[in-house]
């Protein structure tokens, strides 16, 4: 019969117990390290996005307030065969969108502003300092490239994310771990976008608005960060893809 008995206050354990514990600890140590590495390696990449926190830069372009505030920045050297403008989403600091009423007198005008860049892939956003947005002295450039191209009625499957976090302020700014933050951001006026992922690893973002082109922030809060299917009219304004859909028709995918 094995009479070995572990006594906590003894200097050393009984030989058989000590040998057994050492072996178990070694095995657990190796197994836990291996499992942790294996688990980390099979995780999805969170993507590369940048928030240039603390770096305030100057920007100028044509301010557009519909459907959400954005800045159209003329591209030098454009020959008319491509988009003549780059589009930067504009938001306020923290979890807020810009106040469109306060900026209404500047809609369609050339403005200068200060802000912090947020970017991911070909999506660019500026966290603007609201008081820095001022009419520029120069005349606004001709918005020749700003015509809207209708892309028809489409059904798209994806996830509603808050654009500010997803474009770079939080990483990963998507999926359920980020749901609470996304709801707070969207309720504060950050533009909601439908993130449509493709199996080849790329993704597109469509700005989500009502059929009349109005913000739908409050109506989509319950659907944020979950797989959804949305049917609506898609249009392109320069590089901005817009999805006009009735929030009541958004389907949550089970």
């Amino acid at each position: 019969m094995n009479d070995d008995f572990y006594i906590g206050w003894e200097t050393s354990a009984a030989p058989r117990i000590g040998k057994f514990v050492r072996a178990v600890v070694l095995i657990l140590f190796v197994a836990s390290i291996s499992l942790a590495l294996a688990f980390a390696m099979v995780q999805r990449s969170i993507g590369v996005s940048v928030f240039e926190w603390g770096m305030v830069k100057n920007f100028s372009g044509v301010l557009k307030l519909e459907p959400y505030p954005h800045l159209l920045v003329p591209r030098p050297g454009a020959t008319g065969t491509q988009n003549n403008f780059s589009t930067y989403y504009l938001v306020a600091p923290f979890k807020f969108g810009l106040d469109r009423k306060k900026l209404s007198t500047l809609d369609g005008k050339l403005v200068s502003l200060q802000g912090t860049l947020i970017y991911r892939g070909n999506q660019t956003m500026v966290e603007a300092l609201p008081d820095s947005i001022k009419a520029a002295d120069a005349e606004s450039p001709m918005l020749t490239g700003e015509e809207t191209i209708q892309l028809g009625r489409q059904t798209l499957t994806g996830e509603i994310v808050d654009s500010k976090c997803f474009f770079g302020v939080m990483n990963p700014g998507q999926l359920l771990p980020h749901r609470a933050c996304a709801i707070r951001c969207i309720s504060g006026g950050i533009p909601p976008v439908l993130l449509v992922r493709q199996t080849n690893g790329t993704a597109i973002c469509l700005l989500l608005v009502s059929p009349a082109g109005q913000p739908v922030n409050q109506q989509v809060l319950d659907l944020v960060a979950e797989p959804v299917q949305i049917t609506g009219e898609v249009e392109r304004q320069d590089e901005l893809l817009i999805l006009r859909a009735d929030p009541k028709t958004i389907l949550r995918i089970k």
């Binding site: 999805r44 990449s45 993507g47 590369v48 996005s49 940048v50 830069k57 920007f59 920045v73 591209r75 030098p76 050297g77 454009a78 020959t79 065969t81 491509q82 988009n83 780059s86 930067y88 860049l117 970017y119 991911r120 892939g121 070909n122 660019t124 191209i149 892309l151 028809g152 489409q154 059904t155 798209l156 499957t157 994806g158 996830e159 999926l175 449509v196 992922r197 493709q198 199996t199 597109i204 797989p227 959804v228 898609v234 392109r236 590089e239 893809l241 995918i253």
Partner: protein
């Protein structure tokens, strides 16, 4: 008195040691799959590839940036040219645009006035201007949001390829 307690403790630890990993694995397996689509509807997806023939592919043309350039042509040996640029995922610049600059000028900090916009770095194909087929030129990577030249390529010669 202590022996039954130790036995119970051992049983609990063994049960937790089995159940917790199983519960964790079950939780991972039960996650909803990410919604992904194979193809985007017409109009939303990038335009059909017009430049089907690859002329060459090089990774050494930019001095500082790990960018692969593929020179494409409408058809093998004939037609207009285009380039496709690709880089590692961590090569991210704000609003990165691609320009063609004919000749072999010295580019410093500012974008030259005669630079011709080809399009966004992320565009699937960037058609080259007709002038590129007659004279040498450079590709310039320019960050519009930073108002900064990111990189300039070595000279690219298309004249010998044109027919």
């Amino acid at each position: 008195m202590i022996h039954p307690l130790r036995q119970r403790h051992r049983h609990i630890i063994i049960a937790l040691g089995i159940l917790l990993p199983v519960a964790f694995a079950a939780g991972i397996a039960a996650r909803k799959p990410l919604p992904e689509v194979n193809t985007l509807p017409d109009g939303i997806s990038p335009p059909i590839n017009l430049f089907a023939a690859e002329v060459w592919s090089r990774e050494d043309l930019f001095y500082m940036s790990p960018v692969r350039i593929r020179l494409l042509r409408e058809q093998s040996g004939t037609g207009k040219f285009a380039v496709t640029l690709a880089a590692a995922k961590d090569f991210v610049k704000p609003e990165l645009l691609v320009y063609w600059l004919y000749g072999n000028p010295s580019v410093t900090n500012a974008l030259p006035h005669n630079a011709i916009l080809l399009g966004s770095f992320t565009a699937p194909q960037l058609p080259l201007p007709a002038v590129a087929e007659k004279t040498n030129g450079l590709l310039v990577l320019y960050s519009l949001a930073d108002n900064q030249i990111v990189d300039v390529s070595k000279p690219i010669h298309l004249a010998g390829l044109s027919k």
